[in-house]
Symmetry: C2
Subunit: 592 residues, 2 copies
């Protein structure tokens, strides 16, 4: 059975040696000393290794069971969910006022990586609740907050987000679900939503659906969409549960993976709903939830990659097969372990350098969110808005690719369900799709975020990299060669691509869109290069004090690997981008 | 339900406009006029579209059922298998002497692409039989041929290959299965083999296992391995079936995909076996089968990519979502079809340009095999030997990546089993693993094939490309710019990588091995570039005669796409390769 050990040491390194969170000028960060974050991460790690991860293959094998509107989660999920709730993990970074622990989003992110790695299907139940609670927190009335948040923060009630309908996923303007206003100020919601994760299950007393719908007579298209709170059970004035609402799970989907999470068709038949936020401004409120969800999904990519990697390493160390080309390394055994072979290491280093770089990227993103929300920093807000589609799209594409590489290390055993490696790839696959398929992330990045506010956020990103290079360029020749020079090249290539988009925008908007996906990856690699340069710097400094620090030596080598062997892809991505849309758009639709 | 339409027009183009098979100086090719190949391909296409493809989701859902040593294949497989047999498809390119149709391997390859695309799990039953029959044909005694081939050519009996054991897959020298010689010249085979595709099933009267085992007292390691014919039922002198042999399927594996094919644990308990070929030369005989199997697996990569692509195109044409950035293209509908969006086209063009290039590559490979075997051309034999690991490794890696892209076009629906797109990726995944995992293909390419005979085959490959460029360089400026220049660049980069390996070989053999995987891809892209240049030339000539030929226009644009947007990856691959093994090998095993 696969194992999972939480990467607490690596997280501590990023938090304290790279991001220096304890001294950051963000309210709440002063509490994040090394001992405190270490204790939290250790505790979360233990829970995930011992309790949550062992349920991962159980969830995959059993899946959720549907019968007459009722959904049963896999054996052990309920008890584990109660344990997670009892430990206060579901509200770690939610306000103390509603029963949360009021920690920074940064800590929530670190812990959610662990949950997602241990058992993605399981983690989604609390993850979606967190997103729904955030939406209510930011857009709800005081009464809505008082009614729903205390129960959602501790996951006594869970949450969902309802966007997709059978005929529209990305293009929500075509939505048909309608919300008829009632005399008492509530609405009657009627329509069908599909692909609703955690839409029905047996883990919570109530399920709070956030549902996009159109109020008749409102504006056409996406501008006429509003957001509603639709509880499974009506909540009485005293907070107790009342009548069953007119919402029912019609079926659950059979999927490639995340079998432990119920993906539901939800039928709304005149269900009572309460407007959340303003009429016709539903997308704005939903985006609070979606942006958080997108970062969470990016984390899933990294998390599945890490879980798969850990098991690939175990197998590569244990499995005896062939001899090292430079001479036997296990001469007394019948063969050497796989890990002596350069191509196995090439694969493991791809995985390791991705996972650690991605972790730094995600935690940096979380820090930016805290900076935006806790310190009211508008620049941080703009930057994380720009980076969100990159974190979602790049981390899930690469994360999936890494689970495939990890599976490959097992040879034929990787294809057999018994070993668990197939589940990592099957589960990781969804992250490229949900919360906006990665092509939509690329469109969001290039079509919207890049040009927002005159491209200010992108310029700030480049300035940040340029500043980093300038500050450290005379420090050490090896550091410059290994880290700064490759970062400079990638950053220049990313800027070139952006210039290309700007120049072609007036002539042919298809040019930018045809290059959007590659641009997202070019951006992702550049950001990873920046992360590795920052981590390389931290390692460099630590090694100046203690040249024997094994962790730091490993970090430096892993960073050099990324810079040497992954970053050169940027050259090819730039070539793809600047070839424009000519060959992309030339064929008539019937020529495919 | 997914559909599959055989690419007969594209195959005809490759056979007649690119490879000009009808005028090739290969025995048997004179019969391959356009009408004959067209009739065969049409007939095979119809069978696959109408009969075999509809069973693909059935096989996935039902899987094979195991009970007490007996395996039941999914509903409909037996009837379809009988229909395939009755049509003479199983022996299309096997000798007439044994009931085959004696066609060139080329035609077998074209037809097997269709079978693999329509239903990979189903196609494997006949594919493995073909490989086993080939091994007997090349290494068997006259009596063995007479006994087994007539029944195997028409798949009345099917075949298997038994290599892997629980503790050894790639490293077969560690094999434990033993073969004890008997007084009558037969052997008693004892041991356990795993991952035996089609090891047990209900489609055939008998199953002829080709089993690697060690004769006690023979040389250690791989040099002491012999190959044996072990029938499920002993064959009597008169050809009738006798007693059940001591071989039994112990269980079937639960796998990520190819559920319709039984992947068996085979227990040999003193089973009667007959030496095939020479004692201790089992690997040589097995390689006849394995080389054929590797080409067949490469075909599977391309085939699954094509099947998935066809359905992605359907969905992209039908699904209405969003509006074209340059203005509505379906103004009367609620939205435009997906195919108007540049990023959807980018994905479809990646798929299309891969699939068509790969098809040309595979058919060219098949032509080389015919040239080697039918015309006794040693150079062709050396070249296909070099190309085999590239066809297997590159086509399956890319083929898998393309099924993932096709699935992605469907958004959430791609993740739901109902739509069938998940099956393409799950089935395609195995092709990267079996018949030698792709890392082993890369090792075979760089560690063995590249340097064979002083690198003569590789030099011949480069000469071929150079000759092609020289011959056509003054023909047309656009053709030179679009096809010849990019091909020249890629070919030079491949040569540079080879030079790097040669130079570093003496210093550090790990350098070449650390770059082997990237080299396999660099080689694959260069070969694809060569194929596209040849196809571009054919299209160019045809368009000179008829500028309105839509098929040729499409071909030219698709080729330009590959040259502009895929081939630049070679630059990055070269950079990865020439970074050497330093960062790959630096970490101690416990630092991962």
């Amino acid at each position: 059975m696969p194992r999972y050990i939480a990467p607490t040491e690596d997280m501590q390194f990023i938090l304290h040696d790279v991001l220096n969170v304890n001294s950051a000028d963000i309210p709440g960060y002063a509490d994040l000393d090394r001992a405190t974050t270490g204790a939290i991460l250790e505790e979360a790690g233990k829970l995930n290794s011992d309790v949550i991860a062992p349920l991962n293959p159980v969830g995959d094998r059993q899946g959720c069971q549907y019968e007459s509107g009722v959904v049963r989660t896999p054996d052990g999920f309920k008890a584990a969910f109660d344990q997670v709730r009892a430990g206060g993990w579901t509200g770690l970074d939610l306000p103390e006022k509603y029963g949360g622990q009021g920690m920074p989003y940064l800590m929530g992110t670190a812990v959610i990586e662990m949950f997602s790695a241990a058992n993605q299907a399981f983690a989604m139940y609390q993850g979606l609740t967190h997103g729904a609670a955030s939406a209510i927190l930011h857009h709800g009335t005081d009464q809505q907050k008082a009614t729903f948040l205390p129960k959602m923060v501790n996951c006594q009630w869970t949450g969902t987000m309802n966007l997709t309908e059978p005929h529209c996923g990305t293009d929500l303007g075509m939505m048909r679900t309608k919300a008829d206003p009632q005399d008492d100020g509530s609405f009657r919601i009627t329509g069908q939503k599909i692909f609703i994760s955690a839409g029905e299950h047996d883990l919570a007393d109530n399920i709070i659906h956030l549902v996009l719908a159109k109020i008749p007579g409102g504006p056409d298209g996406i501008k006429g969409v509003s957001l509603f709170i639709v509880p499974k059970f009506i909540v009485n004035k005293d907070g107790s549960l009342g009548a069953r609402n007119g919402v029912r799970c019609g079926k659950i989907e059979e999927k490639m993976g995340i079998h432990g999470n119920a993906t539901c068709v939800m039928d709304y038949d005149g269900a009572t709903g309460y407007l959340l936020g303003q009429e016709h401004k539903g997308m704005r409120a939903m985006f609070t939830m979606m942006n958080e969800a997108r970062l969470g999904v990016g984390l899933q990519g990294l998390a599945q990659a890490d879980a798969a990697y850990q098991n690939a390493v175990d197998y590569a160390r244990d499995r005896l097969q062939g001899r090292a080309v430079t001479g036997a390394q296990n001469p007394d055994g019948p063969a050497d372990p796989l890990i002596v072979h350069p191509d196995i290491r090439r694969s493991l280093m791809d995985q390791k350098s991705f996972t650690e770089g991605a972790r730094a990227f995600a935690l940096w993103g979380a820090e930016l969110i805290d900076r935006a929300q806790r310190a009211g920093d508008k620049d941080a807000d703009a930057l994380i808005s720009l980076l969100t589609p990159v974190i979602k799209g790049f981390l899930t594409d690469e994360g999936y690719a890494m689970t495939v590489q990890a599976q490959q290390i097992y040879g034929g055993h990787g294809y057999i369900e018994e070993w668990g490696m197939s589940q990592f790839t099957r589960d990781a696959r969804i992250a490229m799709i949900y919360e906006g398929a990665n092509g939509v992330q690329a469109l969001d990045l290039v079509g919207r975020k890049l040009a927002a506010d005159g491209g200010k956020a992108a310029m700030a990103f480049f300035d940040m990299i340029r500043g980093f290079i300038t500050t450290h360029k005379d420090m050490d020749a090896a550091f410059t060669r290994d880290f700064l020079d490759p970062l400079k090249t990638a950053s220049k290539q990313l800027q070139e691509a952006m210039m290309y988009f700007m120049q072609s925008a007036g002539k042919n908007p298809n040019d930018a869109l045809a290059g959007s996906y590659d641009f997202m990856h070019l951006f992702g690699h550049t950001a990873m290069g920046f992360m590795w340069a920052r981590m390389g710097l931290a390692a460099h400094k630590a090694l100046a004090d203690d040249p024997d620090a094994a962790f730091m030596q490993t970090k430096r080598i892993t960073g050099r690997y990324y810079m040497q062997r992954r970053l050169p892809i940027c050259t090819s991505l730039l070539a793809r981008i600047t070839s424009g849309s000519d060959t992309v758009m030339a064929l008539p639709a019937d020529a495919f």
